[in-house]
Amino acid sequence: MTAITPEIVREHGLSPDEYSRIMRLLNRAPNLVELGIFSVMWSEHCSYKSTRVHLRKLPTKGGIVIQGPGENAGVIDIGDGDACIFKMESHNHPSFIEPYQGAATGVGGIMRDVFTMGARPIAMMNALRFGEPSHEKTRHLVSGVVSGIGGYGNCMGVPTVGGEVNFHRSYNGNILVNAMCVGLARTDRIFLSAAKGAGNPVVYIGSKTGRDGIHGATMASAEFNEDSEEKRPTVQVGDPFTEKLLLEACLELMATDAIIAIQDMGAAGLTSSSAEMADKGGSGIELDLDHVPQRETNMTAYDMMLSESQERMLAVLKPGREEEAEAIFKKWELDFAVIGITTDTKRLVVKHKGEIVADMPVTSLSDEAPLYERPYERRTPARLAQPRIDSTRPVLDSLRTLLASPDLCSRRWVWEQYDNSVMADTIQMPGGDAAVVRVHGTNKALAITTDVTPRYCKADPFEGAKQAVAEAWRNLTAVGATPLAVTDNLNFGNPERPETMGEIVGAIDGIGDACRALSFPVVSGNCSLYNETNGEPILPTPAIGGVGLIKDVARMATIAFKRAGDTILLIGDTEGHLGQSLYLREIETREEGAAPPVDLAAEKRNGDFVRRLIEQGRVDTVHDISDGGLIVAVAEMAMPGGIGADLSPNERGDIPFLFGEDQARYLIAAPPAEAERIMADAAKAAVPGFRLGRTGGADLILAPDKRAAVRRLREAHESWFPRYMEAGPR
C-alpha cells in the first residue's frame, strides 16, 4: 500500500493542519483511498468550509418553503398540491478547460439534482460570464459553452428559456457557467436523501463508472494557472441520452413506494452520495465495490470512489423491492446493481475484492469537516455617485452604441440554439424580463429569472448583492408574478485572501437583507470559489435565480409595446445615478463610482403597486429598468413590435435622467384614460409616477429634432452577436 507522504497530501489539496485533523479523527494514518475520500469531502466545493458560517445568516424559511438548503435542491409550495423544485449550480472550472463538455455536464448535473427529488424538470436557465470579446479565447468559449448547454438540454427535451450572458476582462481566464433547473412535483411525492434505517439495500443506477472526472471537486477548489489545460482529463463527459433514460426511469420508480432515499452522484460521485445519505439518515453505509458497474477494466477502489462519471444515482430501497426496481431500469436499458447496505454503525465502510479499503465515521466527512472563519476585510465602498461626464454628447448616438454593445445587445444568437418550445408550455420566451413557463394542464405559470450585476458588486459587495436580489424580484414582478424564493450561486475568487473573503461576507449580508425585506427566502444554492487565474480574481458574481408564480396566465405582462397611443409611465424615483453605469463604461470608457443604492422599502412599494395593476388586468406592458437606464428600457419595449415612442413632451432629457441606473423603477404603457387612473392610484399609494410620453410611429423621439428609427436601433441591437461570432475562428 502506498505510504502517505506530505507530497501526496499536498497533491490532494489538503493542508498539513487538515491532515493532522484526519489522523486525529481516525486515530491512525489514512490509507490512499481514505485520503482521497477526505480530500473530496473536505474540498471547498463539497464542504463549503469557508462560507458555511456566513451562509447560516441567510433567511431560508417562510410559509411556502417545503425544503430549504441542505438537500439536492430547494422545494416550495405553489398551491393546489404542486411543488416547485429548483436550484442553480456552477460548472465554471470544467467549462473553461473544455467548454462543450463542461457546460453540458453542468446542465446534466443540475437536472439530476432536481429530478432526484421527484420533479420533472420543466425549464432551464443559465448565467454565463465570459472574458472580454477581444480576448483570444472568448469566441471559442462562447461557442463551446452555448452548444454544450444546447446539446444536453435539447436532447433532454427540457426547454432552456433564458439567462444572462456578459463579458468582462476579469473572466478572461475564468469563465462562469451557472445553470439553473426548475422542476415540478406533487407536494406529497418529494424524495429526500436521508438514508434512514439499517439493513436496507443501497442500489446503484444509471451509467457505468469510468475513470473520468477523478478529482473534479478538488480541481474546482483550486486556482488556475498556465497549466490548467493539463487538467482536461478531470472534466467529465456528458451523455444526455442516458440522462433522459435515467430521468424517465427514476420518475417511474418514484411512482412506486419502493424508495427510502435517493441522491444523484454529482461532485465526488459515489463518495459524496453515500456519505451524505448516511449522514442525513443518521446511519452507516457499507459498500462493496465489486458490484459497481464498471466501464473500464482494473479500476481501483480509489478510482471508483473518486470518479465523477455522469448520469448515475444512488438510492436506498425498502428491503425486498429490488426486483421491482430492477425491472424498471432494465426496461430503460440502464445499469442497476445492489452495491451495499445501510448499517447502524454510523461508519462509511468500503470493501473491494474481499478487503476493507476504507473505514471511517460518517461524521468525520460532514460535521467534523473543517470549518473556517477566514479573516476578511470589508473595503470601503466607492462613494462617487455622479462621475464627471461630457454632457454635450448626442444621446441618440450613445443609445445606439449601448444597444449594440456586448453586454446589452440581443442574445438571439445564443437562445436560438436552445430548444425553448419543447413541452409546449413556454409562454414567455427569452428576451423579456423573466421567462414564463406554464404548469402543464393548468392556468398558472412559473416566472423564472437569473440576475446579478458584477460591476456593482465589485464597487460595493453589499449593495451589489442587494441589487442582484432586487433585480430578480423586479423581473418577476414585471411579468406579473408574485416572487416566491431564490437560489443563489456565489462565484468569487480565493477566500484565503481577506479582501475576497470580505466580498463574500458583504455579498451574503446583502443577499440576506434583501431577501428578508422582500420575503424572498433562499431555498438552495451553490458556492464556487477560487475563480481566479494567476492571482487575478473575477468580479464578485453572486448570481441570483428567482422563481415567482403567476396565478392566471391571462393576467400577465410583456415588455413589447402593443398599441400606438398608449401613455408611457415611469414608476419610481429617478435621480440619475451614473456611478458604475453601462453608460459610463461604454461611452465614457470608465468603470468607476458607487453602485446604485437599493432602497428595499421603495422596491417593495413600487413593485407591489405594479404587480397589482397586472393582476387586476389593467396593464399588459411592463419593463423593469436596469442596465443602460431608462432610455435603453424604452428602446427594448419599442424594438420587438416596431412601435415607436415620443418622449418629447416631457421636460427631462439630460444624460443622467436617460442613462442613470437608479433602482426600483418600471416602465408601464397603458391607454391614456387608464394611465391617468394609475397616476391617481400611485399618488395615493405614495408611489412616484411620471408621465414620460406616448407610444406610436416608427421612431423613438426625444425632441422634435432628436429622433431615431426603431428599425435602425433594432438592426444595431441584433447585429453585434452574430457578427462577433462569425468574425473569427472558433
Binding site: S147, G150, G151, N154, C155, M156, G157, D239, P240, F241, T242, K244, L245, W332, E333, W415, E416, Q417, Y418, D419, N420, S421, V422, M423, A424, D425, T426, I427, R438, V553
Partner: protein
C-alpha cells in the same frame, strides 16, 4: 379517429403530440414503446420529435432499425396514415418511407425559433384544412433539418405535388433544398416535416396555426 404515438428512448415531444391528439380527437392516443412488435389498430401513427437513441449515429438511423418500425412500415404500406415530425421525419427518411435525407443544418448550429412556412399542397389529408400558399408559423428546433435529395427526386416530388410545406422565401432556417420543409410519399399517406405543428396548437403560445393540420386529419380519418 384512433391514433398512436411511438415512443423511442429519448423521444421528447411525444407528450406534446399526444396532448394535441387528445385535444382534437377526444381520446388519448396509444403510447407505443419502441420494443413492441405491433402498433394497435389505429388510423394515424405519429413518430414524434426528440433524439431517438441519442441520435449518436445519423439522426433516426437507429430508430429506423427498431422492432416497432417493422410494423409501422407494414402499416404504412397498407395505407395507414403516418406523420413524422422532426426526429420522426428523420426516421421516415432513414426507413425509406420517404425519399431524401436530412443533413446537418447549413449554419452548423441547432436552430430553435418560430418560422413562417407556406402550405404548398392542400390535396392531402394532412393539409386539407389549409389554403394553397397559406402562411403559417410553426416553431422549429433541430440540428439536422437540411433536406437533401438529388435533382431528379426533387423534380419528381414537385411535379407530383408531394412538397407539402416550404419555408417562406428568405426564412429557410437550415439550408434545405428548394426550401422544402415537409414531403409526402407516393401514396400520400405518409408525411414528414421538420417544423412542429404540435407546438403551435395553443393560443397562449402564439397563433394556433398547427391545429389545422390535426383537425384536417380528424376530418379525413374519422
Amino acid at each position: 379517429m384512433k391514433s398512436a404515438v411511438i415512443v423511442f428512448p429519448a423521444s421528447n415531444r411525444d407528450r406534446d403530440s399526444a396532448d394535441v391528439l387528445e385535444k382534437v380527437t377526444g381520446t388519448k392516443p396509444y403510447m407505443v414503446w419502441h420494443g413492441e412488435t405491433e402498433v394497435p389498430d389505429v388510423d394515424l401513427i405519429v413518430l414524434p420529435g426528440g433524439f431517438s437513441y441519442g441520435d449518436y449515429l445519423r439522426c433516426g438511423a437507429m430508430a429506423s432499425q427498431s422492432r416497432i418500425m417493422r410494423d409501422v412500415i407494414a402499416k404504412a404500406d397498407k395505407g395507414v396514415a403516418v406523420l413524422g415530425i422532426c426526429n420522426g421525419f428523420q426516421i421516415l427518411t432513414e426507413s425509406r418511407l420517404l425519399p431524401g435525407a436530412l443533413m446537418r443544418n447549413a449554419g452548423l448550429k441547432f436552430v430553435s425559433k418560430p418560422v413562417p412556412v407556406e402550405v404548398e399542397e392542400t390535396q392531402s389529408m394532412f393539409t386539407r384544412r389549409y389554403r394553397q400558399k397559406q402562411r403559417v408559423v410553426y416553431p422549429v428546433a433541430h440540428g439536422e433539418g437540411n433536406y437533401f435529395a438529388d435533382d431528379e427526386t426533387l423534380n419528381r416530388l414537385e411535379g407530383e405535388g408531394r412538397v407539402v410545406f416550404r419555408y417562406a422565401s428568405g426564412e429557410n432556417p437550415n439550408g434545405s433544398a428548394r426550401d422544402i420543409a415537409g414531403v409526402l410519399n407516393e401514396k400520400r399517406n405518409v408525411m414528414g416535416l421538420m417544423p412542429h405543428p404540435e407546438c403551435a396548437c395553443d393560443p397562449m403560445l402564439g397563433p394556433p396555426d398547427g391545429l389545422g393540420l390535426f383537425e384536417g386529419l380528424v376530418e379525413a380519418l374519422s
